[in-house]
């Protein structure tokens, strides 16, 4: 019974979907205000989702219908599952075991992977270019982002999210590991395909990238997955770097502060080309975060 409630209502299921929509609205509204626009009303993400779900889903011919239908479901399921391991709402995670950090991160990557596969599963050139870009970008930010989140884990001496969260409540890792924080923040932008890392869905080049052929229900599920991923990603980075998440008030304040940072970054920059993204991550992101990791290991080695 408790498990069913956890999966369907809180913290999984409905709470997560509603929360994801609110965070997306906050993100859109903040960017709009930063760009001197009015921005959407609070129920806009809900209205968009309902509208998409009600629309006809066009399945293109000449492709695998099974994959076309299954991929959005797998993407959303992955994002929802990852939420069970993070301290949503500042409460203890529903499920917790040693090494759940890695599981949660790869559940989050499932969305990107599914997007890439969905794009490859068409004959449309925009989708194919978009899929190539999605997967290329995945390989460029994934490792640095992972290492950036392993920094706090290393400091806490545990790869369990709840333990890192507890450790972070007494250590503001934002100041102890500033490089890791910056890489994690920018990695989150990349993971969510937000500007300047929105090259995989650059509308002025490849329409909607891998999502071009999707309509109706499939597109709605992918979008829902993206909303959930936004909320989970914010929770994860905030709990690791912003002094942990001990209670619901801390949760709201810290994730919103992080979201504000993301919005500012998004509205500050032009879109990077895919080759520039790969160069940026492997030339600077990966090296910086590895250097910091090395320092942490050395300090850890000397103090123990």
């Amino acid at each position: 019974m408790r498990e069913l409630f956890a999966i369907l209502f809180f913290p999984g299921g409905l709470f997560l979907l509603a929360g994801g929509m609110m965070y997306e609205w906050a993100d859109h509204k903040l960017i709009a205000r930063l760009q001197n626009r009015v921005g959407p009303r609070w129920f806009q993400p809900l209205a968009d989702t309902v509208k998409l779900l009600a629309k006809e889903e066009v399945i293109p011919s000449g492709i695998s219908t099974f994959l076309f239908i299954a991929l959005p479901i797998a993407a959303l399921a992955g994002a929802l599952t990852s939420a069970l391991y993070v301290p949503l709402g500042g409460l203890a995670p529903t499920y917790s075991f040693h090494g759940d950090l890695i599981v949660a991160l790869y559940m989050l990557s499932l969305l990107t992977l599914c997007t890439g596969l969905a794009g490859s599963n068409t004959t449309d050139s925009f989708s194919l270019v978009g899929a190539t870009r999605t997967l290329t970008q995945l390989f460029s930010y994934e490792a640095p982002f992972l290492v950036a989140l392993l920094g706090p884990a290393l400091a806490a001496g545990s790869w369990q999210i709840s333990e890192v969260n507890t450790y972070a409540q007494s250590h503001w890792l934002l100041f102890l590991q500033p490089i890791g924080f910056i890489v994690a923040l920018i990695g989150l932008l990349g993971k969510l395909e937000m500007p300047p890392f929105d090259s995989p869905e650059a509308e002025t080049e490849i329409v909607a990238g891998a999502m071009t052929e999707y309509s109706g229900r499939g597109l709605a599920l992918f979008h829902l997955g993206r909303k959930v991923e936004l909320m989970v990603g914010l929770t994860l980075v905030a709990s690791f770097y912003l002094g942990g998440l001990g209670n619901p008030i801390e949760f709201v304040v810290k994730t919103l502060a992080l979201l504000l940072g993301l919005s500012v970054l998004q509205s500050l920059m032009a879109r990077l080309r895919i080759d520039q993204i790969v160069g940026l991550w492997w030339r600077y992101g990966a090296l910086l975060v590895l250097a910091q990791w090395l320092v942490l290991m050395l300090i850890g080695g000397f103090t123990s």
């Binding site: 930063l34 760009q35 001197n36 626009r37 050139s125 925009f126 194919l128 270019v129 190539t132 500007p195 300047p196 929105d198 090259s199 650059a202 509308e203 002025t204 080049e205 490849i206 329409v207 509205s267 500050l268 920059m269 032009a270 879109r271 990077l272 080309r273 895919i274 080759d275 520039q276």
Partner: protein
């Protein structure tokens, strides 16, 4: 599978988010690098040149003004200057000065709009939103001055329709003050923003020789160091009394196109102030006969996008015999497939936007050949085709 069908082609258009008007581009890509490009235009051909032949001289002014929604004044101006030349009259100095003021205001609104569109193509939405917000200041000025935001309808054959009074003069000067400050800020952004520079510096570089070869005009040519500006080479309206400073930049990449256009904005602010400060007194219109003397003439003006060319032929009646329009996009379009090759696919929308294209202005009837059986039409065949087409029996 033949070699041809193995090519991976990314079609852009006729309907595509990067295009605000219909045009069709096919880019053959190898990974992300463009290896081949072709352009097909003609989706928005409206038959305006032919339509002018069934309207009288005054009606045509309104029709031609509607060729382009962005540079409407300059089309009417080119036409009026041509007709005045044929009729042997010239507009009074004050009218010429007002024409120049409106032309420069139009250039400002066009360049600010371009700045936003180009930023949007690069995914820099914030610059897009801010530059378009500031452009509204100018649209309000144009509305206060002429009563319209788009087709100002400022010209008459032989003069202008309205005067600029002291109040309007102050409105313009106040708007220019605000815009000058903002423009300086945008100049700062496009030349120092590191992320944006990665998308513009060294992209789509056109050498001066290449620009000459492709016949580029306007700011696109001036960004490659080609000194070509009709306002200086053959001054019209009030540009002889109020000379324009030539804006040049000789790198030829996208960044220099930004620099040239933003510098032109600053030059336009200076010029408008100068004209308003030394406005000649006098009449606004000259008398022009209803029938225009037989003859033919050309009329060249500098539209925001480059040289706009009109050929006007009169047979002595109250309607023109032939009007031929060549808009600057026609000259600049050829550079897109040439410059696109070897660039990244992601830079293509920027290269396209770099020439500030205006599709429906340059569109003409296009005949499409499938395959390689292209042939050359003789003048006689083309003429006969035209006659048959308009009789409804192609």
């Amino acid at each position: 599978m033949s070699e041809k069908s193995e090519k991976f082609i990314v079609p852009i258009g006729p309907q595509h988010p990067a295009l605000k008007e219909p045009g069709h581009f096919e880019f053959t890509v190898d990974g992300e690098v463009v290896t081949g490009a072709s352009v097909r235009l003609g989706y928005a051909h409206r038959g305006i040149e032919k339509a002018t032949e069934s309207r009288n001289w005054t009606q045509n002014m309104y029709l031609l003004e509607r060729i382009c929604g962005i540079c409407s004044h300059i089309h009417a101006l080119a036409y009026c200057l041509g007709v005045e030349k044929l009729a042997g009259v010239s507009a009074p100095p004050r009218a010429q000065a007002i024409r120049s003021v409106v032309a420069e205001l139009e250039r400002i609104h066009s360049h600010l709009m371009w700045l936003g569109v180009a930023a949007h193509e690069a995914g820099f939405e914030t610059l897009f939103m801010y530059s378009w917000r500031d452009r509204e200041t100018l649209m309000d000025v144009l509305e206060a001055l002429t009563g319209n935001r788009v087709n100002y309808s400022a010209n008459l054959i032989g003069g202008v329709k309205f005067d600029i009074n002291a109040d309007q003069r102050d409105t313009i000067l106040r708007a220019l003050e605000f815009l000058e400050e903002r423009t300086a800020h945008y100049m700062d952004i496009v030349t120092t923003d590191v992320v944006f520079l990665r998308r513009t510096r060294g992209i789509g570089t056109t050498s001066a020789a290449q620009a000459e070869l492709l016949g580029l005009v306007g700011p696109t040519a001036r960004a490659s160091g080609v000194a070509r500006d009709v306002r200086i080479d053959a001054p019209y309206a009030a540009y002889a009394d109020f000379p324009v400073t030539l804006i040049l930049h000789n790198v030829g990449d996208l960044e220099s196109r930004f620099i040239v256009r933003i510098n032109e904005l600053l030059e336009s602010y200076r010029l408008i102030r100068q004209i308003l400060d030394h406005m000649p007194e006098g009449e606004l219109t000259a008398r022009v006969p209803r029938r225009i003397k037989e003859g033919e003439t050309i009329s060249r003006v500098e539209a925001p996008r480059g040289e706009l060319f009109y050929f006007i032929k009169s047979n002595g009646s109250d309607t023109p015999e032939r009007i031929k329009v060549r808009t600057p996009t026609m000259c600049n379009m050829a550079s897109v497939p040439v410059l696109g090759i070897g660039q990244q696919l992601a830079d293509i929308p920027m290269i396209l936007a770099g020439i500030d294209p205006c599709f429906s202005c340059n569109d003409r009837a296009a005949v499409i050949h499938q395959g390689d059986d292209g042939d050359t039409w003789t003048w006689e065949r083309l003429r006969q085709y035209g006659i048959d087409y308009y009789r409804g029996q192609p």
